[in-house]
């Protein structure tokens, strides 16, 4: 029974999925790469003979485009503030739900997880109203503590933090599940031995929990950041990138250039910058993954 399977049988099983991936993923990726070296725009769309190769001009233009820098910077802000904050909340809630002192864990786990499965467009709309400067619940709650109303989505200083708060609320449940699994894999003998030596809770957390959770923390951090680099729906629905472009993200800029202004060559070069950033993140993960395992 170790013979090779008949070619046509292999073909039958592989062809549907692989041809879909070839024609509707691989071919578009290669085309995108080629288009990024052209001046493909709305005129080309009408007449393909207008298409011209312009070498690296799109990429050079990116480096001189202040709006692109702004989008890049905003996205980094979202990723490197929102990412760690999400991980912190996920880890804290996992510790909380792993504590023997807490009741009704299963119900809390379900509730905490609920935002993860819900539609981002819908919840972004809900939060837009929660953030309303005059009638929003958030400012009302803050006013109880004597804090003056904040124009969350109308003030360039607060717009990105507002989107980060929404993202943390929406996503923390996902990594929380992974952290709970990680915590449950830590052998309880380790804690018992430490207790015999009279170790404090903080000491146990610092020298048992954190190191043994390191692989989970690392994995979730990278995956979360890769996901966060693709920020789009939140600013699209809540701010359209404003105010003063303070929430313009890379993908939102790519969408606007490509599908609103039909500067397709330029838009695709933005997508490739995103690709390179994500590639770097993935390579870092591969490189350090083995080192961090205990």
């Amino acid at each position: 029974m170790k013979d090779k399977t008949n070619f046509w049988i292999v073909f039958l099983f592989l062809a549907p999925a692989l041809s879909a991936i070839l024609f509707f993923f691989i071919v578009p990726v290669i085309s995108a790469f080629l288009i990024s070296f052209t001046d493909f725009d709305i005129y080309t769309l009408g007449d393909f003979r207008r298409l011209r190769f312009i070498g690296f001009k799109n990429y050079v233009k990116l480096f001189e485009d202040e709006l692109f820098y702004k989008a890049l910077l905003n996205t980094f802000y979202f990723v490197f503030v929102g990412g760690p904050l999400s991980i912190l909340v996920s880890l804290s809630t996992a510790l909380l739900l792993n504590s023997q002192l807490v009741k009704f864990k299963k119900i809390f786990r379900t509730i905490y997880f609920l935002p993860v499965v819900t539609t981002i467009v819908a919840v972004a709309i809900v939060w837009r109203y929660l953030y309303h400067p005059r009638f929003g619940i958030l400012n009302y709650i803050l006013s109880i503590f004597g804090i003056n109303p904040i124009d969350w989505l109308g003030d360039p200083i607060y717009a990105m933090p507002a989107i980060i708060i929404l993202a943390v609320w929406k996503n923390f449940g996902y990594n929380m599940i992974l952290f709970i699994a990680g915590l449950q894999n830590i052998p309880s003998e380790l804690y018992e031995a430490a207790e015999l030596d009279g170790a404090s809770s903080w000491f146990k957390f610092k020298s048992i929990t954190l190191p043994l959770l390191a692989p989970t923390t690392f994995f979730t951090s990278i995956m979360t950041m890769i996901g966060y680099f693709q920020l789009f729906a939140e600013p699209y629905v809540m701010t359209q990138g404003g105010p003063l472009n303070s929430t313009l993200s890379i993908v939102l800029y790519m969408y606007q250039e490509g599908f609103r202004w039909w500067n397709m060559g330029y838009s695709v070069s933005i997508a490739f910058v995103l690709f390179v950033i994500i590639l770097i993140g993935t390579l870092i993960q591969f490189r350090y993954e083995k080192r961090i395992h205990y």
Binding site: V10, T118, V126, F219, V251, I278
Partner: protein, 275 residues
């Protein structure tokens, strides 16, 4: 010591409750505001509950704003993408797990390497291709790029590898073809992982926004998220109406999740297992 323990216990339980409230308040307010009279939610101080239940916004959405059509579009697309991709992915997974052919490992590794390419890179050429094929503003525009996925193939292959070869060999000796083995032995054994992947695909397709926004430009083809985002442009001031639209979009997913939570959460674990 005893009193410290009790204080700690009370504190942690209150904290869990507080986080639960923060998680739920947006949903509670969404439902509550959707049932308020027009303008009632834009008051200071904000109201948490409607003075009387008003279903008129739901009725208006369905009678005047084509909500039923958007709902059906979303439902049909989620079902079609889920069914087709489960079939295609599991067929490819079977080939990679159980059939013998040259270049198998290389081909599989190549597929895995595709996972690092973010979907946004493909969107523009894909849009142009589908436009040439006349698939813009059709279900095909959403189904075609969703027909197969590397992650799904990977997940199913891992599961199929654990099915003993002896089972398949025995069926072969009895004269069963690979197609018969696949449909009568392999697929039934993969039930749990198929359900998990199916739920992920269904919820993912239902919630998807960027691609439907690009492909569905004609209002009769909108999915719920796209319709909602467009409605937001025209009806920003109608808080209660927007909340009713959000409820219609979110509720089916929440109900589905309530029933299949176990599968969804186990899927997260499987998805994070590295090879």
């Amino acid at each position: 010591m005893r009193s410290v323990f009790i204080i700690k216990k009370i504190f942690l339980n209150l904290l869990a409750l507080l986080i639960g409230l923060i998680t739920l308040i947006p949903f509670v307010w969404m439902v509550s505001a959707s049932l308020m009279k027009t303008g009632e939610s834009a008051k200071y101080p904000p109201k948490f509950f409607p003075s009387e239940l008003d279903f008129s916004h739901y009725i208006f959405l369905f009678q005047n704003l084509d909500m039923a059509k958007y709902f059906l579009n979303s439902l049909a697309l989620a079902i079609l993408v889920t069914t087709i991709s489960l079939l295609f992915n599991s067929m490819a997974a079977y080939a990679f797990a159980k059939l013998r052919f040259g270049l198998k490992d290389r081909l599989f590794k190549f597929l895995l390497s595709l996972m690092i390419v973010p979907g946004q890179v493909t969107m523009l050429p894909l849009f142009l291709m589908l436009k040439e094929l006349g698939f813009i503003n059709t279900y095909f525009g959403i189904i075609i790029p969703g027909m197969a996925g590397v992650f799904g193939i990977f997940l199913l292959r891992q599961f199929m590898m654990s099915i003993p070869d002896s089972l398949i060999d025995a069926a072969r000796i009895d004269g069963a073809s690979d197609l018969k083995i696949f449909f009568t032995i392999i697929l039934p054994l993969c039930r749990s992982v198929l359900i998990t992947l199916g739920i992920f695909t269904f919820i993912g397709t239902w919630n998807d926004f960027l691609w439907p926004l690009i492909v569905m430009t004609d209002s009769s083809m909108y999915t719920l998220p796209v319709a909602l985002a467009n409605l937001m442009g025209e009806h920003t001031q109608d808080t209660e109406l927007m909340m009713a639209g959000s409820v219609i979009t979110v509720l089916p997913i929440v109900i589905l999740f309530a029933f299949v939570q176990k599968y969804y959460i186990s899927g997260i674990m499987v998805g994070s297992v590295k090879e």
